[in-house]
Symmetry: C2
Subunit: 248 residues, 2 copies
């Protein structure tokens, strides 16, 4: 990371910090080959949002948090980019929610699983966090998916009622929804299949969402589900925001 | 590249082909660390264009081609991503235009320069193309830039009147415009500093643009400069296209 990026007042500090975290993760073997291209796509959509949490995304975040808080078996499913970009923040969130984190990656290799587990366990130690990390020994499968990408654990994803899956692939989002789960996703592209199919779509940058969730829980403010919540409206508002930005 | 991607009728064939070319280039040491993230950003904007050449981009491409054809000293400046994604097509274009290609990279290392030169020379041999490749031994500097990124050659970039610089950085685009050159850029982000500052901005995917230019020259059709061309209008039309796509 350049010297400029070490200064939090630099306008591109957050963006450069995220790139730095990906570089570290790349060196540790945590990322899939498509990780950096996927991150670049996200950067472009975040640029069109003005690199900020828009009001409709904050409302979706509060809705997602309310659903996690009232869940019977909540779980947070993480992949390589999620662990790289917001591993620490996710573990703090899981601790506050008292739920497990499951490593669930699309391109599964023993080396990547090991690197991701090790990274999360290092953070747990450094931050004195007590959260269960699942996924090392899959003992169940997500119906409707083929190959290693269907692997999951019974006590985590399979038995969950509410699942937070940031940066999820479209096929897996669809499979989880088909299982009857409440699926909460974070996706900067409001037109993606994942964004369109999820129960709640936070059109926002991953680390901003998790920081907002942690801040909300720390504030002691009530987290109340909005019974009239419309995810279609959330997506429409994101699209309107981007279109207005482009034409301003 | 997956088997699906080997089938040109696959809807994502072009996109997967470009990723494959980047993978090959990465293995050859041709790319900068930021290359894949930059490509991902481009993918997102191309997605918003519908992965097609929109009419205003085709008009800008014809304008750029007319300016290249009527130039006294045209040059094509290429970086790692350009060589990776469209090296062959660029060399064919340079041959048709009878102009040199100059390798000019932002993050300059001897290893990357060597890998890029080797890749272009391999294509020249395979395709029996006779084009001068400049950049190996810089003997001039672009005024207004600091460090190795200012390096260029006198017989190429420095003395050119019209320069095609696909995927250019904002600072360098600005420096070239300040030198009084006609600067033709290809940039999928119509809001980027590069897009805003260039003489002609083709808001389109690199390989589509070069294929279109080659096809136009091969067709024998006249290439005539539009004296009333407005680059601001080109950019506005791209923004309108994306905004309409988002709201459709």
């Amino acid at each position: 990371m350049s010297e400029i990026a070490a200064d939090p007042s630099h306008p591109r500090y957050q963006s450069l910090l995220m790139r730095h975290r990906l570089e570290v993760a790349e060196e540790k073997g945590m990322l899939a080959g498509s990780a950096l291209i996927a991150h670049g796509r996200g950067e472009a959509f975040d640029y069109l949002l003005g690199e900020q949490t828009i009001p409709s995304a904050l409302a979706a975040t509060q809705q997602a948090l309310a659903l996690l808080c009232s869940a019977t078996h909540p779980v947070i499913s993480v992949n390589g980019n999620v662990v790289a970009l917001a591993g620490k923040e996710i573990l703090h969130l899981a601790q506050k929610l008292n739920c497990p984190v499951e490593i669930n990656i699309f391109y599964r290799t023993p080396e990547r699983m090991k690197a991701l587990l090790q990274h999360l366990n290092e953070i747990k130690q450094q931050e004195a966090i007590d959260v269960e990390i699942l996924g090392a020994k899959p003992n169940a499968r997500i119906p409707g998916l083929e190959g290693p990408r269907a692997n999951c654990t019974k006590e985590g994803i399979l038995d969950s009622d509410v699942i937070l899956v940031p940066l999820e692939d479209g096929d897996r989002c669809e499979a989880l929804v088909s299982m009857g789960k409440t699926v909460l996703v974070i996706d900067l592209n409001p037109l993606s299949r994942t964004a369109q199919m999820a129960s709640v779509t936070m059109v926002d940058e991953l680390s901003r969402v998790i920081v907002n969730m942690n801040a909300h829980l720390d504030s002691g403010q009530q987290v109340v589900e909005n019974k009239k919540y419309s995810n279609n409206e959330t997506i429409q508002r994101a699209l309107q925001h981007i279109a207005a930005y482009l034409q301003s």
